[in-house]
């Protein structure tokens, strides 16, 4: 009885979560310009349109560049903080960590106004670096969390053993800490990359007219009138996401990277 209820619950939820993905994918294969689902006269014309339209391609490239740089900047902020917290119990680092986490816990619209005001006050609104830095700081909490989990997972006996065997600080960092932290660092990068790729309101407020990212272009298109072309971008992102997280799950231990129990224990 409870097993049936559990299956029904999981099935319904899976359907709920899959429905928009199915709709978007279905619409992208439509043969006509109307919004049809299930798709009629299935075709790949919108895929052709997407890849031959310089507007869509530049939005896609722009989004990818912003997301890649934002994730690197976010990790460059998170890694030293997480290291100082773990290694030295530094109060300054803990304070910075708390402060860095705050911006993710503010309502997104408020953050977008905050950064609109900030970049306008600097007289620098409407540049790509505004979007990159704003995204990096807003999403820095994700690498802080994953890298923090990584440091916590290090067995202190390993470090002691390395020291006893004569390893210096630099050797320990390179040979013990780096390989353990790397997967957590990569998953932090991937999280920021994906959230930045899809972020709309902050990107729109700080530089939406000059730096048209893919979500901004999609939303502008929705207002002007519908074309299935925008669903092609969505399908590509989805594939990218599944491949990215799937790859992490394949080479690493995804449950452990997300803070779950380690494989095999208990």
């Amino acid at each position: 009885m409870t097993a049936i209820l559990r299956r029904a619950f999981l099935g319904l939820l899976a359907l709920f979560l899959a429905a928009p993905l199915i709709v978007v994918t279905g619409v992208s294969f439509n043969g006509t310009a109307r919004m049809n689902f299930p798709p009629q006269h299935a075709s790949l014309i919108w895929y052709g349109n997407f890849f031959s339209d310089p507007g869509w391609m530049s939005a896609l490239t722009l989004s990818a560049v912003i997301a890649a740089l934002a994730s690197l900047v976010a990790v460059s902020i998170a890694l030293p903080i997480a290291y100082a917290v773990w290694r030295f119990n530094s109060r300054a680092a803990m304070a910075l960590q708390g402060l860095a986490r705050v911006s993710f816990l503010l309502p997104a619209v408020v953050v977008s106004i905050v950064y609109l005001v900030f970049w306008s006050a600097l007289g620098h609104a409407g540049h790509i670096e505004d979007t990159i830095l704003s995204h990096a700081v807003v999403f820095v909490t994700l690498p802080l969390t994953t890298i923090g989990l990584g440091f916590q997972s290090i067995d202190s006996a390993l470090i002691d053993a390395a020291r006893t065997l004569g390893a210096r600080e630099g050797d320990v960092l390179r040979t013990v800490i780096r390989p353990i932290i790397l997967p957590y660092l990569v998953s932090g990068l991937v999280f920021v990359f994906i959230l930045s790729l899809n972020e709309y309101i902050i990107a729109y407020m700080v530089a939406g007219f000059e730096v048209e990212t893919l979500p901004i272009k999609v939303f502008n298109n929705l207002r002007m009138g519908f074309t299935p072309t925008m669903c092609v971008g969505a399908v590509l992102f989805m594939l990218l996401g599944v491949l990215g997280f799937g790859a992490i799950a394949w080479v690493g231990d995804l449950p452990k990277l997300l803070g779950g129990r380690t494989q095999g224990s208990g």
Partner: protein
């Protein structure tokens, strides 16, 4: 490690965090008490006009709608996300990874696209209402959006992956022997759940609820795409004041109000978790 080395290590993170959190919030406070002048928003002058306009009925109603949405989405997403996470942590490893990748994949779609696909799913011509008619739940196909229900469905969808990610570590590391002990002592499954699992996961559950509420309070696209102006929460008013109205002081004052509300909500949650007596 010497002090100067630590300073060097933390110099870039400190610079970036302070420059991009403290300074912008301070500027937000400053512009919220400036006269609305699109040409020179940084001009001298001091007025509480923007704050006074928050007392107008439209702002108050928008704030009420924001809070209602936040509480409903918080309850629905934790109500569905908690059992989901619990079941996931009890699955075989393969199934667990499959669900986690699936949930993370839903994160790869922008809220813009999720809102659009809800528009499609709730439309009259091809939407859910046709299924409801076939099931006998509705007389004839009808458009189910714009409506408050549509906004709630879409926001819940967007929030659930974050709910699961927040609850996953706690539920995954939960000591299973405690549940088994309760079961061995004769407690039915639901009783073991309410008296062992829930009390042990109070804090992450409250964090998940607050996160859901905050994501809802800050959402702009779903209410615009799936609601009518009379459904719009504070966040849409803020966006529109800045974009369409070019009234930065008003947008800033409303933002400050929403910040205060968020802080109160988070504090209330912290107190609720702390002061609840353990059963």
């Amino acid at each position: 490690m010497r002090r100067w080395q630590l300073s060097v290590l933390l110099s870039w993170p400190a610079l970036a965090t302070l420059a991009l959190t403290v300074v912008p919030v301070w500027l937000l406070l400053r512009i919220s008490i400036a006269p609305p002048d699109p040409a020179a928003p940084w001009g001298a002058g001091l007025t509480f006009e923007a704050y006074r306009s928050l007392l107008a009925p439209d702002s108050i109603h928008a704030l009420r709608r924001s809070l209602q949405l936040a509480v409903v989405v918080g309850i629905v997403s934790v109500g569905a996300g908690f059992p989901l996470t619990y079941f996931i942590t009890r699955m075989q490893r393969r199934a667990q990874v499959g669900w986690l990748v699936f949930l993370l994949a839903t994160l790869t779609l922008s809220d813009v696209l999720i809102a659009f696909s809800w528009q499609v799913m709730l439309s009259k011509r091809i939407g859910l209402s046709r299924i409801f008619v076939a099931l006998g739940l509705m007389q004839q196909p009808d458009s189910l959006a714009p409506s408050v229900g549509a906004i709630i469905a879409c926001l819940t969808y967007l929030v659930i992956p974050f709910t699961v990610l927040t609850l996953y570590p706690a539920l995954s590391q939960l000591d299973r022997s405690l549940i088994e002990a309760a079961r061995t002592l004769g407690a039915p499954a639901w009783r073991a759940f309410t008296s062992v699992v829930l009390p042990l996961t109070r804090v992450p559950t409250m964090v998940a609820f607050v996160l859901a509420a905050v994501l809802t309070l800050g959402s702009f696209v779903p209410p615009v795409a799936l609601g009518k102006p009379e459904h719009w929460p504070m966040s849409v008013l803020i966006g529109n004041a800045a974009l369409a109205g070019h009234n930065l002081p008003r947008a800033a004052a409303m933002s400050v109000l929403l910040l205060v509300v968020t802080a109160l909500l988070a504090l209330g949650a912290v107190r609720a978790v702390r002061h609840r007596p353990t059963p």
